[in-house]
């Protein structure tokens, strides 16, 4: 269904001077999903986001928000988009309410009731009339989100939304993002350099490195492809022989053997081992972190 795609990026490139910063990025966002944009610092995440929100003009390629081209129909495209680029910077000398009023007046048909609604949604009602300079970072972050939600956007773009938040703030933010996607049907685009973040809140993830998207996949697929099984066998040599006839032994760590995890085959492998007289002392299923995946995809280039 075409109408379900809310954000479409195709062949996006940016050349600054002679350097190609973004080397052709493609991806699509569907309605109601949280999409992770994962890459190390300096991989081109922020440049890509700034092109999506119209702050930077792409050298070539196309960006469509709900079918409106950002560079050709800027105002129509922006009307469907809410965003926080980097830090949630608002006017510190104005109150939270005045900030929201100010941005609301730049959108069509956002009334005071809607402002009250988003303020309640982000839980800032008690402090909304205080000046923003007295706000904590978490509160600024929430005010930033309130601002982004004012115009009932279809697409929400959050650049490093948990940056600088404390652990409870991070959990809150994560739950809030899930809520927006599931209950409000928004497409949320979240960039991060933290794998744990993306893993916990995203449906799909694109991995970016050096201005290129390496892969776009659902988080489950990523994890499932990489799930491993750790065996502790005795005697080791015999066990290794039996296992290697059934599956591939990826690694040997001390007295552990590592094989891929295939749910339907594991029972059979175990039975074979027992029949051959190998004592299975321990079997451990290990879900890899995205870190492992990233390392594998980029061939050792680490994050951060």
């Amino acid at each position: 269904m075409m109408s379900e795609i809310t954000l479409k990026v195709k062949g996006l490139r940016k050349v600054i001077g002679k350097k190609e910063i973004i080397k052709g990025i493609d991806f699509e966002l569907k309605k109601g999903e949280v999409f992770g944009f994962l890459g190390p610092n300096g991989s081109g995440k922020t440049t890509t986001i700034r092109m999506i929100v119209g702050l930077i003009r792409p050298t070539s390629g196309m960006i469509e928000i709900c079918g409106h081209d950002v560079n050709k129909a800027f105002t129509k495209a922006m009307a469907q988009l809410g965003c926080i680029v980097e830090n949630p910077e608002l006017y510190p000398y104005l109150s939270g309410w005045e900030n929201l009023k100010l941005f609301a007046s730049m959108l069509d048909g956002v009334k005071d009731e809607r402002i009250i609604e988003v303020v309640e949604l982000v839980g800032l009602s008690a402090r909304i009339h205080d000046r923003v300079k007295t706000y904590s970072l978490g509160m600024r972050q929430r005010l930033g989100i309130a601002q982004a939600l004012l115009g009932r956007p279809k697409v929400l773009i959050l650049d490093e939304p948990t940056n600088g938040l404390d652990p409870s703030g991070i959990r809150e933010m994560r739950e809030f993002i899930r809520f927006l996607a599931e209950k409000e049907g928004l497409s949320v685009f979240v960039s991060s350099h933290l794998l744990s973040e993306i893993q916990l809140m995203c449906d799909r993830v694109a991995i970016i490195s050096k201005g290129q998207v390496l892969r776009v996949e659902t988080v489950e697929t990523f994890l499932a492809q990489q799930e491993l099984l750790y065996w502790r066998l005795s005697p080791l040599a015999e066990g290794k022989h039996v296992l290697s006839t059934e599956t591939q032994i990826i690694e040997e760590i001390d007295e552990w053997l590592v094989t891929p995890f295939h749910e339907e085959d594991v029972g059979k492998w175990n039975r074979k081992l027992v029949e051959a007289g190998v004592n299975v002392k321990e079997m451990n299923r290990k879900i890899p972190t995205l870190e492992d995946i990233f390392l594998e995809l980029t061939g050792g280039e680490s994050i951060d």
């Binding site: 929100v53 005045e98 941005f103 007046s105």
Partner: protein, 328 residues
């Protein structure tokens, strides 16, 4: 568009700059009023008369003495200025018109004449210099430019807010000057006659085209011209605010140009192409007064056009750069 301008005005007002400027104005005006008051007292002591004719006659004689005794120490430009001034004063005397009827309106007039090339532009610069650059330093430019509003509209709303602020500054300035100086000099004198239409030709004052206007009319014209000068300076500061993302750097450049202007005004009579620099043309009010221009051949219309061209160029530069630029 009105909502955008309202937003920008809200920001300017809440930054409290206009208040601070008003405060500075009040202090300065009080200071100058007091200085003027002292000056009047001193003249009274020196010439021992309250009659303006005697005082004016004395002043003319003083200046003439200075010209003949000072000899070579006086620069050519300054000598020319003084000679013109003597002829003007003589003209006032001959026609029995008091060039400075005591009262607040006269003070407003002379004060405007003296502040149009530096003080007022400085106030305007303080407002204009951070209009765009502060959005960059705060990071709010990213929010502002990701709204469903075209960039030129955002910038235009800022520019309109600037025009409003400039009008407000010129208004507050004249108003405050009138109110404060009136306390010492009295509030009357709006109808006192002022001679306009002097033209100069080297060291010769040409009085062929002179006419009398009531002082209020003169002040109105002077305020209009002061407003225009402020608008041009504001536009150029505004452009710098777009081009230079640091407010301090923008202010520094503008400040240097303005001060360079006042210095050049006393130096450039031989460097003729300097007359195309905007800062040399700021003193539009000196033409109203009929003083000798800094460079031979400069007229009110010439200076007005030079400023206009600079203003238009600055305006378009600001818009082109702002709408095309990548924001990082």
């Amino acid at each position: 568009m009105i909502n955008l301008v309202q937003n920008e005005m809200l920001k300017i007002i809440r930054k409290r700059k206009i208040w601070i400027i008003t405060l500075i104005m009040a202090v300065l005006i009080s200071l100058f009023t007091y200085a003027q008051f002292k000056e009047v007292e001193r003249t009274l002591e020196k010439y021992g008369s309250v009659d303006w004719r005697t005082t004016l006659q004395q002043q003319i004689i003083d200046t003439e003495n200075r010209l003949s005794n000072g000899g070579r120490n006086i620069s050519d430009e300054w000598r020319q200025q003084l000679q013109i001034r003597i002829q003007q004063q003589q003209y006032y005397l001959d026609h029995d018109i008091n060039p400075s009827t005591p009262g607040a309106p006269t003070f407003v007039r002379t004060f405007l004449e003296n502040s149009v090339s530096l003080l007022l532009p400085l106030f305007v610069m303080v407002i204009a210099a951070d209009l765009v650059s502060s959005e960059h330093s705060l990071g709010t430019v990213k929010l502002l430019l990701t709204r469903p509003v075209k960039r030129w509209k955002i910038l235009l709303s800022k520019y309109l807010a600037l025009i409003l602020s400039i009008s407000l500054i010129v208004f507050i300035y004249s108003g405050l000057t009138y109110l404060i100086s009136g306390a010492l000099f009295g509030y009357s004198g709006w109808k006192a006659p002022v001679i306009m239409g002097f033209t100069t030709n080297g060291t010769e004052l040409n009085t062929a085209g002179v006419y009398l206007v009531p002082q209020w009319q003169y002040i109105l014209q002077a305020s209009g011209l002061a407003w225009f000068v402020c608008l041009v300076v504001g536009t150029l500061s505004f452009m710098l605010s777009v081009l230079v993302k640091s407010t301090a750097a923008g202010m520094g450049i503008m400040l240097a140009s303005l001060i360079a202007g006042t210095i050049l005004n006393n130096m450039v009579s031989t460097w003729e192409s300097a007359k195309y620099l905007f800062m040399v043309n700021l003193n539009l009010l000196s033409y109203l007064k009929g003083a000798a221009p800094p460079i031979e051949g400069m007229t009110l219309l010439f200076s007005f056009c030079v400023l206009l061209v600079w203003g238009i160029a600055g305006f378009f530069t600001a818009f082109i750069v702002f709408t095309k630029r990548d924001v990082y």
